[in-house]
């Protein structure tokens, strides 16, 4: 006598087959939907209406810095796009101050593209010193051309107009070098940067000595410029 099929096993088998087919169908539908979505994106991308991004945050950093009035001024007065980018990256470094990993990554990339001088300029911008110099120039120049020349001159020769004062330094020699530069290039302004009590004392001594020898400069002291510029 042939064995009767187990009805429960038969039902279970049917249910399993149904579930499997249902899942398979769902996967197929999902795959088609994804493929359609990707094709839609590709079409819009090819029309120049879409971009693929990793995250919104990095784009937001760039968007926000381009809204700043000082960046708009630099855009107007600095024609060299690389110099403008170096200043702009200072603003990015500032925006990433709380995110050490991304900030260090960006510093490396600025260094790769622009070398030490470019990173130096970006870091000065990060600390607001390029902005400060721009405002000094706005005060001291007579017309737009003079302002434009002054800014370009600063950006191209930043090492000439920004001096780093350190704790252990031959003050007399450095003072002489500054006086020579002031006389030779007659800049509208010069920035001295220092960090730490001893370096600050050195800077004050140098400023006193310079102001005795070179006339016509106003002295302004900015304190608490946080996170001193990092490049050597």
């Amino acid at each position: 006598m042939p064995e009767e099929p187990d009805p429960l096993a038969s039902i279970a088998k049917g249910v399993a087959k149904g579930t499997y087919e249902h899942a398979e169908e769902k996967i197929k539908v999902a795959a088609v939907a994804i493929a359609d979505k990707i094709q839609y994106w590709i079409k819009k991308f090819r029309q120049g209406e879409l971009a693929f991004i990793e995250d919104e945050k990095t784009i937001e950093v760039v968007r926000n810095q381009r809204k700043k009035p000082s960046w708009k001024l630099f855009r107007r007065y600095v024609k060299d796009p690389d110099l403008r980018l170096q200043i702009e990256m200072g603003l990015s470094l500032k925006a990433l101050e709380e995110n050490k990993k991304n900030r260090e990554d960006l510093r490396r990339k600025i260094l790769n593209r622009y070398g030490t001088k470019g990173l130096h300029l970006a870091e000065l911008s990060q600390r607001g010193l390029i902005d400060r110099y721009l405002w000094l120039l706005l005060d001291e120049t007579q017309d737009e051309q003079e302002l434009r020349d002054g800014i370009e001159d600063l950006l191209k020769n930043v090492d000439r107009y920004v001096e780093f004062v350190q704790a252990e330094q031959d003050i007399e020699r450095q003072t002489k070098a500054i006086i020579t530069r002031l006389r030779a290039f007659k800049p509208k302004a010069m920035i001295l940067l220092c960090k730490g009590t001893q370096a600050e004392e050195n800077a004050r001594e140098m400023v006193d000595d310079v102001s005795r020898d070179v006339e016509g400069y106003r002295i302004e002291i900015m304190e608490n410029v946080t996170n001193f510029v990092e490049t050597p």
Partner: protein, 81 residues
């Protein structure tokens, strides 16, 4: 411009997108038709699949960082992200 985040997109889908533009993936990096790693044109680093941007304008594949984005916007002045 519409921005599509690919941050949490599986690598397989990223590959589908890249293939549409004639690129591929080798390990963690984007490769071109010749199998060479694609370099970010502005900062010179190999583009990692987990940190990439694809911008229109002859399909520009970049590393996700502010310098590359700003340089792209300068080069393609009409584009607005």
């Amino acid at each position: 411009m519409e921005l599509v985040s690919i941050k949490s997109m599986p690598k397989e889908y990223k590959l589908l997108i890249l293939k549409e533009f004639g690129y591929g993936i080798s390990g963690d990096y984007v490769i071109d038709n010749d199998g060479k790693r694609v370099k970010d044109r502005y900062v010179g680093v190999d583009v990692n699949v987990s940190n990439m941007l694809i911008f229109p304008g002859s399909t520009i594949i970049l590393d996700n960082n502010p310098l590359s984005i700003a340089a792209y916007l300068d080069e393609y002045e009409g584009k607005d992200l």
